[in-house]
């Protein structure tokens, strides 16, 4: 057999991977090789927006892993996304070098503005791409591990856990708003020039970033799909449905939770790191509790505990958001709020659940 069983039996996942493959090939062609006046031409803006959706989808997948399979409703996953974003943002800031407004070869503009004379210690190393990429994984992962290790060990669960994850991202937001933190305060990190020497404004770079986002989503999806197909996946479900049962069967529930939470945070960090060069800015607003909850609702809309549903939900909701905030900005929050209510009350299994029910009925 060409495909391992766990992938072969995952029809929806195969469709998703196929779609990603088509996008990964098709979008670059439509952007780079189709003339701008052709009806099929995709502007760089569209490419960026699509890339953004894919990053959101990866964030949604990471949330689905902990919420859909392990039953932990995290209201702070945007924090890991933002931390990943900041890590890459720091690299991009260092890449600006002397091209900033103040022309300081080492210090980013905002530090010069604050009259800082040298780089804070935690900014060292971020001029190396490899180190920055490592941090994209390590920083969110470490925070998630420490947080999860303590929270799960003391058996904080259910809504309590949701509330403290929210408090976590809220506290981080407040912290990053402070200039003294050394992350650009309110304005965050922006005015990026290039990545590994490639200009972020160039169409080619944007297309490559889009392809990388598609690959990351595919990779993240496969990793999660494989994980839930192992015995670990069944343990996650056991923890979700009856934590005590799992514990009395001899599972060290808190370790499993901490590990999966950490893995999920790393995926969110990767999503954030791919997001930042595409949108060109990262600021403390990304830590806002609303962002995390919005991401949770993507998963709920698509159908939690399915992974594919998370991707569908993220793309659909964000497409609706892009469209509505442009066309009828007043309506967007009504729509989003209504979505929360409708999905939880009427569609507990999301769109995927709806499709499955249709299939069964037919």
């Amino acid at each position: 057999m060409l495909l391992p069983h766990w992938l072969f039996s995952d029809r929806a996942g195969l469709v998703l991977l196929a779609v990603l493959a088509v996008l990964g090939v098709g979008v670059p062609i439509l952007n780079l090789w189709v003339p701008p006046d052709h009806p099929l031409y995709l502007s760089a803006y569209t490419v960026t927006v699509l890339g953004k959706y894919l990053c959101y989808a990866l964030l949604a997948v990471s949330i689905d892993l902990v919420w859909g399979y392990m039953g932990i409703l995290t209201l702070g996953h945007a924090a890991f996304f933002a931390l990943g974003g900041y890590c890459l943002g720091m690299y991009l800031m260092r890449q600006i070098g002397a091209r900033g407004v103040y022309g300081d070869p080492v210090l980013p503009d905002f530090m010069v503005f604050l009259n800082w004379s040298e780089l804070p210690w935690y900014w060292h190393g971020f001029d190396h791409f490899g180190f920055a990429m490592l941090m994209v994984l390590v920083i969110p992962g470490l925070l998630a591990f420490v947080f999860g290790w303590f929270a799960f060990r003391s058996r904080v669960s259910g809504v309590y856990l949701s509330i403290i994850t929210q408090a976590l991202t809220y506290a981080l937001m407040l912290a990053f708003f402070r200039n003294e933190m050394g992350f650009g305060g309110n304005n965050g990190l922006t005015d990026f020039k290039d990545l590994l020497g490639f200009s972020l404004q160039a169409d080619g770079t944007r297309v490559v970033l889009f392809i990388l986002s598609a690959l990351a989503l595919a990779g993240g999806y496969l990793l999660c799909r494989w994980l839930v197909s192992t015995r670990m996946g069944r343990v996650l479900v056991a923890i979700r449905d009856s934590e005590d049962r799992a514990r009395f069967l001899g599972y060290r529930v808190e370790r499993v939770k901490a590990l999966v939470f950490t893995l999920s945070a790393m995926l969110a960090g990767v999503a954030g790191a791919l997001y930042v060069p595409q949108v060109g800015i990262i600021n403390p607003g990304e830590f806002a509790p609303l962002n995390s909850i919005e991401a949770v609702i993507w998963v709920a809309v698509g159908g939690r505990g399915t992974l594919v549903g998370a991707v569908i939900g993220a793309v659909l909701v964000n497409y609706a958001k892009t469209w509505l905030t442009g066309a009828l900005p007043e309506v967007w929050l009504f729509a989003l709020g209504g979505l929360f209510v409708t999905v939880t009350v009427l569609l507990p299994y999301g769109l995927i659940g709806l499709l499955q029910r249709r299939e069964k009925a037919a």
Binding site: L73, F147, A151, I163, A167, Y170, G337, V341, T344, V345
Partner: protein
């Protein structure tokens, strides 16, 4: 009261004051005449005659005397050239507003060249200043006497000491006595007698006003006599201690007032989250509705009466919205707390946007009634009245809620359902009705909290968001389902926040409190006052 006042007024003042008190109109007229006569003489008088006239004026005890003398010292007293009317000019332009010097009646604008200024020299000016000080010291109004002494403190002159001493002998108000003593000591501190200086320094310990602390600091550093320096240092230490105490008391007060706000925001949640196990993420928005109700009330009613109306109205509005939320959404989600959390979050977004669409996204300013504005002395501590009112309001709401839960039929049913839903139903409690009413109660309290918040912060669509994390933290910290826990938690978090603030800044203080809470929950997942045993497992 009347006799005391009379006694305090000087002998000269006595007769006229009696007249003013008992026969205002004719005597006022006669007095006005005497005043006018004296003022008319000012026009032709030379400076020494003017000095004598000033003394006469002071002796008159007419209510306008202080104003007139002030104007004279500032060269703002004029004659209208044509009519010989004596007026006070306001402003410096070519055309100035004038008012009658004797009656205070506004007389419109006048061109300066139609006016004749009454001139004063420096000697006269300082005479007037001194006389004004005595005038203040002799005033029947303790506030004015206090102001006079305080004015002296700002520029202590040895020649004024005699006047203060004389006043001290007859002063009956203890506060002013003390202030007078301090003022006299301040004069002694710059005197030539070293023993007196040391004595004065000792007496000035504990006075926190900069006018006293400054000279004391100077004495401690520069006085030629070692004993005086020593005494001044000891006195300063006393002052510093007092300042520190006052600082702590102030922090505590701010902490209590912040804590009250947190409690108000949290006890509604303690009802819905604690009693019903329902996470209501729209709780902050219900507070916002309460705040907007206050604003609306003020559009219809005078500000001073608006709050007593707004409180029940806000309760009603928020309670009705709450009941609608419970009946429309939450009841389909019982037993699924995470879904409830998400659904109510959706509702919070809808409410925010609704307010934004109806009232505009801009902040509305809710006026503070007069009876809540300003400051009040609480012992040595000056506190803002609105914060004090909110602390009292919080206690009142808390007490009412406590009584409602303990003493009413609904409260009994609520507690029964909270403890054992199935059993309560079996005993005939209509749990659906109780759920709706409980949720209404919790929501109503959120509305009431919104009224209080409208007095402290801007009323805007984001009002609720700013408080929701905090109020959940209070509930979780206190232990779910425990009103006292919410009280203790709210107060301690409020005070902790304010204690940290001067040291770390407001934002960092908040972060530290959040981090502390996150760590605290690890240690005590069920809060300060947890429910224990098997009932808590559900």
């Amino acid at each position: 009261m009347v006799s005391r006042t009379l006694f305090r007024a000087g002998l000269t003042g006595l007769a006229s004051l009696l007249l003013v008190l008992f026969m205002p109109l004719p005597v006022q007229a006669a007095d006005d005449e005497a005043l006018r006569a004296a003022l008319t003489q000012l026009r032709e008088a030379d400076f020494s005659e003017k000095a004598a006239l000033v003394e006469t004026l002071v002796g008159m005890d007419h209510p306008r005397v202080a104003t007139i003398l002030n104007a004279l010292a500032e060269s703002r007293l004029f004659y209208v050239t044509e009519t010989s009317r004596i007026v006070i000019g306001l402003g410096d332009d070519v055309e100035i507003a004038i008012e009658d010097a004797i009656t205070g009646e506004a007389l419109g604008q006048a061109v300066k060249r139609d006016l004749d200024r009454i001139r004063v020299n420096n000697r006269l000016r300082s005479l007037i200043e001194n006389q004004l000080a005595s005038l203040g010291l002799a005033s029947a109004d303790p506030q004015q006497r206090k102001a006079a002494v305080e004015a002296f403190l700002r520029s202590p002159k040895p020649e004024g000491a005699a006047r203060l001493k004389a006043r001290l002998d007859v002063e009956s108000d203890q506060k002013i006595q003390e202030l007078l003593t301090a003022a006299l000591a301040l004069v002694d501190l710059t005197g030539t007698d070293a023993a007196a200086r040391a004595q004065a320094a000792k007496a000035l310990g504990g006075w926190t006003q900069p006018e006293i602390r400054g000279p004391l600091l100077r004495a401690a550093a520069e006085d030629s006599d070692a004993a005086v320096r020593q005494a001044a240092q000891t006195a300063l230490a006393k002052t510093e201690f007092r300042l520190q105490m006052l600082g702590w008391a102030e922090t505590l007060f701010f902490g209590l007032s912040l804590g009250s706000v947190l409690i108000l925001a949290a006890i509604g949640l303690a009802v819905t989250f604690g009693v019903m196990g329902v996470i209501n993420m729209a709780h902050g928005e219900l507070m916002m509705l309460g705040a907007y109700t206050t604003w609306l009330t003020q559009q219809w009613l005078p500000v001073n009466w608006s709050l007593p109306v707004a409180v029940p109205l806000a309760f009603l509005v928020a309670a009705l919205v709450g009941i609608a939320i419970e009946r429309g959404v939450i009841r389909f989600l019982y037993g699924r707390p995470l879904e409830t959390l998400l659904a109510t979050f959706g509702i919070s977004l809808i409410l925010q946007q609704a307010v934004r669409s109806i009232f505009s996204p801009l902040n509305r300013s809710v006026a503070t009634p007069d009876w809540m504005s300003g400051t009040i002395l609480l012992g040595p501590l000056e506190v803002t009245l609105n914060r004090l009112v909110i602390i009292g309001f919080c206690i009142a709401v808390f007490t009412l809620l406590w009584l409602a839960l303990q003493r009413t039929r609904l409260g009994l049913e609520v507690r029964a359902v909270a403890q054992n839903r199935a059993m309560a139903r079996a005993m005939g409690v209509r749990s659906a009705r109780v759920d709706a009413l409980t949720f209404g109660l919790g929501s109503g309290i959120a509305g009431v909290a919104g009224v209080a918040l409208s007095q402290l912060t801007n009323v805007g669509p984001n009002l609720g968001q700013n408080y929701i994390v905090d109020s959940f933290m209070v509930v979780v910290f206190g232990g779910v389902g425990n009103l006292w826990g919410a009280m203790v938690a709210g107060l301690s978090l409020g005070v902790a926040n304010k204690l940290l603030e001067p040291w770390s800044g407001a934002v960092l203080a908040k972060i530290l409190v959040l981090v502390f809470l996150i760590l605290f929950i690890q240690k005590r997942p069920r809060g300060l006052f947890p429910q224990r045993g098997r009932a808590a497992e559900v």
